[in-house]
Symmetry: C2
Subunit: 216 residues, 2 copies
DNA sequence: AGGATATGAGTGGCCAGACCACTTTCAAAA
DNA sequence: TTTTGAAAGTGGTCTGGCCACTCATATCCT
């Protein structure tokens, strides 16, 4: 029968409880002693289940206060994924390529979405470009956010770190031109041109990094 | 200093131990009592760490035998996370979209690579299509593998599970036509047509699943 | 001698009870 | 009214114990 692995049952029970009691992210769930009592299990067994859920980022515990439903949803999800995915043999090239893949897809998604293409964001972005302290990363992150795919954003964020923060530094005067071109293309929903420009910028950046001897 | 969260240290220590001792998947790791002794922690605390690792699919425990390094990761991980994390529709949509994103990119990469487009794989794939027991998933996985990006492959594999194994089942006679079209387009390196066909197939599949009432 | 059986050591699964460290609360003291 | 401090509640950890299971070994019966 369903022998052994009681802590897995507890994981399921906790999930059901959260559903039924309509506990929202950020809410506090009953204390360990209380849960152990109602579920008729020892506290240490219950803790095994809670610790598992915590490592997954599903709950959050604060000593002296209690246990709370985590509100970061797929925040930790991606972190967990990264420990699986990026633990070995990831050639730098794969990381680079995959990151670019997400960026291109983001631009494509923005261009497809009429509303996104015509937002005021672009104006303000263009203005901020003139600022000497405008970070390259801010530019790309803005694109990722505006794509609307939060999961892709999280994955991108991780990949960016694994590829040694390729967008480190501020936008130089040489780059402003091509970045303006990219923005213009997006505004008129010309995905091909925008992507082409972006890829060109990305490659230029990569060579620049190599020339300056930046490493991962 | 490093207060609280001792079990996290243990997780790290165990991982390091596995690395140093060169323990391979399937190998047995020391017993709980032994580990607790050498790490100078209580057995229950150690167990919290082990249970966490087990839920992640990194280890496997068999009562009466011992604890072993798991070779097939993410098993319960996906199960648990998909029920906890992916509650809202936005997340489901994001997962679906991101998976498709990787698939499309794979096709594009294959088409760009002249050598890959002209491999014999396509012939054998076309033959296997005729087989009644040919799994949809095999088809897509083949594409992902041939793209050459192993990182993307891994991410895809996880996302596939999170979106409820969208390619479950065998290829039906209705689908063979469009799949052959996709293969043909790839062979002549016509990325646009291949992708267009693939997306159409993917959407058709999604509707089919909804009609049959498949869930998570 | 050979096969079936009992035994004991080792292992994970689970529990009860005990401290400790920390946070919050609220009543008593200033 | 403000400050203080004691108590209650919570997670963090350890100890020691018992149970259920596996496996290798020794033992017994044929």
């Amino acid at each position: 029968m369903n022998q052994s692995k009681r802590y897995l049952d507890i994981v399921r029970d906790i999930r059901d409880m959260i559903r039924q009691e309509k506990i929202k992210p950020g809410d506090r769930i009953p204390s360990e002693r209380e849960l152990a009592e109602t579920m008729q299990v020892g506290r240490s067994t219950l803790r095994e289940a809670l610790r598992s859920l915590e490592l997954l980022g599903l709950i959050e515990t604060r000593r002296g206060e209690g246990t709370f439903l985590s509100d970061h949803r797929n925040q930790k999800l991606v972190e967990v994924l990264s420990t699986f995915v990026l633990q070995d043999n990831q050639s730098h090239e794969d990381v680079w390529e995959t990151r670019l893949l997400h960026e291109v897809a983001a631009i494509q998604a923005i261009c497809r979405n009429e509303a996104a293409s015509q937002m005021k964001v672009w104006e303000s972005l263009r203005l901020r470009l003139e600022d000497e302290s405008f970070l390259r990363e801010d530019f790309v992150r803005e694109l990722m956010v505006l794509s609307g795919n939060r999961l892709s954003l999280k994955i991108w964020f991780l990949l960016k770190q694994y590829s040694g923060n390729p967008y480190d530094g501020t936008v130089s005067s040489e780059e402003i031109g091509s970045m303006n071109d990219i923005l213009a293309a997006i505004e008129r929903q010309d995905a091909d041109t925008a992507i082409h420009g972006f890829k060109a910028w990305s490659e230029w950046l990569q060579k620049e990094r190599i020339r300056n001897g930046n490493d991962s």
